[in-house]
């Protein structure tokens, strides 16, 4: 019975993954939400509304790096249209877009290394999150 349940779970998980994969627009919205969630937590810590916790903070930067890597695959040519605020420049200037994705990942990895306490976190977090606006400015349409 347990084996059956496990097998079923694996199947369902696999199937949802395939479903999500098949719609990059849905997938990248979920990924952006994950980045937003991590940023919300980071902002609370930076403002002192939540206590500094090394594990949590490393989790934030890990979310950034992982999400950044994932995003690299989520803008195929087929996903230009539909319910998306992805800007046409993504496909007109793929190299520029990719460069900003890589910069975000690198900045996030560097921030993880540089963070040792609340003060260093604030600086590192501020630097990484500048990437959000930098990319959205050019590659996302208004919404």
């Amino acid at each position: 019975m347990i084996r059956f349940a496990l097998a079923a779970t694996v199947l369902v998980l696999g199937f949802s993954a395939v479903m999500a994969q098949s719609d990059p627009v849905v997938e990248r919205k979920a990924t952006m939400k994950a980045i937003g969630g991590a940023t919300g937590l980071g902002a609370k810590i930076a403002k002192g509304e939540e206590a500094f916790d090394a594990a949590k903070v490393q989790g934030i930067f890990k979310t950034y790096v992982d999400s950044g890597k994932k995003m690299e695959t989520l803008f195929p040519d087929s996903s230009k249209n539909g319910d998306t605020t992805a800007g046409p420049k993504i496909w007109e200037d793929q190299a520029g877009f990719r460069a900003l994705q890589v910069k975000f990942e690198n900045d996030a990895a560097a921030a993880a290394t540089a963070t040792t306490d609340l003060a260093s976190f604030r600086t590192a977090f501020g630097t990484v999150t500048k990437n959000c606006a930098a990319c959205h400015e050019t590659y996302r349409i208004k919404k």
């Binding site: 919300g40 605020t85 046409p88 959000c132 400015e137 208004k142």
Partner: protein
């Protein structure tokens, strides 16, 4: 036959009269009377710098394709249903910029939309908002711009369709839509609200993008601040009134936070031209951003144009 000829003569006379009337009425000196400047104290350059940020001058006038936002060589294209406008060179270069201008020239341009040569500016240059800035503050801004580097080269001319390429037409537009009044504070409201009103409607010129426009390109006042299609292309400019899908659920602090960091309450980061707006408004004080938020929270909920289905969610 005689009747026909008489009719023709009358028509031609009427047309000539109409043309003459149009010519007189749309004369830049008739349309807008320039504000009295009077004697001004020595300019406050720091205040000018702040106003430069609040007004977002560099967002349009900085030379595109390079990182120095204080190189005001112009040239950036601004798409519209009438054609493409190109921001002019406003660096202090004596030949290609505004290096030869006097304070009065600058005040007239900003408050009445008339050039030193006596021509109308197109309202793509938001003097419709900047008119609220008092002459003293404009003189500060002018003094600050004069401290920046002169940039050589004129910007490319506007590429507009007929009849919009005739500047006199703007005179008619001004008669219909341009309110040349300067800012008067409302004694019934708090000092903070008044500061916010001034920053949002004056230098910040928020309504210029956050409102839909009529067929002649003027803001539809009934839906001011209620957002609409992005005139520059794909996308939707958000409603910033207190509507459900506007800023109705946002706190004053959340609005001020967005203006400082670019993050929404759900930690999305604003994009498009709003990213540059945030970079500029972030240079103001917390008190000024809170004042802007105080004013925005006072706007009644207004429903803007309906969004097409695809632009509805994020």
């Amino acid at each position: 036959m005689l009747l026909l000829r008489r009719l023709l003569v009358t028509l031609v006379a009427l047309a000539a009269l109409g043309l003459a009337g149009f010519y007189v009425l749309t004369d830049p000196r008739v349309v807008s009377s320039s504000p009295q400047i009077g004697a001004l104290p020595a300019p406050d350059i720091e205040n000018g710098k702040l106003l430069f940020a609040a007004g977002g001058c560099s967002s349009c006038h900085a030379t595109p394709g390079q990182d120095d936002k204080l190189r005001l060589g112009g040239g950036l294209g601004l798409g519209s249903p009438f054609g493409t406008f190109h921001a002019p060179n406003i660096s202090p270069h004596t030949r290609d910029g505004i290096g030869n201008w006097g304070v009065k020239d600058f005040v007239d341009a900003m408050a009445t939309g008339v050039s030193p040569a006596g021509q109308h500016y197109y309202p793509a240059f938001p003097y419709t908002s900047y008119r609220l800035i008092p002459p003293k503050a404009l003189a500060d801004l002018f003094a600050y711009i004069r401290t920046l580097a002169p940039v050589e080269g004129k910007a490319v001319p506007h590429e507009l369709r007929f009849p919009f390429n005739i500047r006199r037409v703007v005179g008619g537009w001004k008669l219909l839509f341009f309110d040349g009044a300067s800012f008067k504070s409302d004694p019934g409201k708090s000092e903070e609200w008044n500061r916010g009103f001034y920053l949002v409607n004056g230098p910040g010129h928020c309504a210029e993008c956050h409102s839909s426009r009529n067929a002649l390109g003027a803001i539809v006042q009934a839906t001011r601040f209620a957002g609409g299609p992005d005139p520059e292309g794909k996308g939707w400019v958000p409603n910033i009134t207190q509507a459900e899908d506007g800023l109705g659920k946002w706190s004053k602090e959340e609005i001020a936070e967005l203006l400082k960091t670019g993050f929404t309450p759900s930690f999305d980061s604003v994009g498009g031209s709003m990213a540059a707006v945030v970079r500029n408004i972030a240079q103001l004080s917390d008190a000024d951003r809170l004042a802007m938020a105080e004013y925005l929270k006072s706007l009644p909920a207004v429903q803007g144009p309906a969004r097409p289905a695809a632009a509805q969610s994020n």
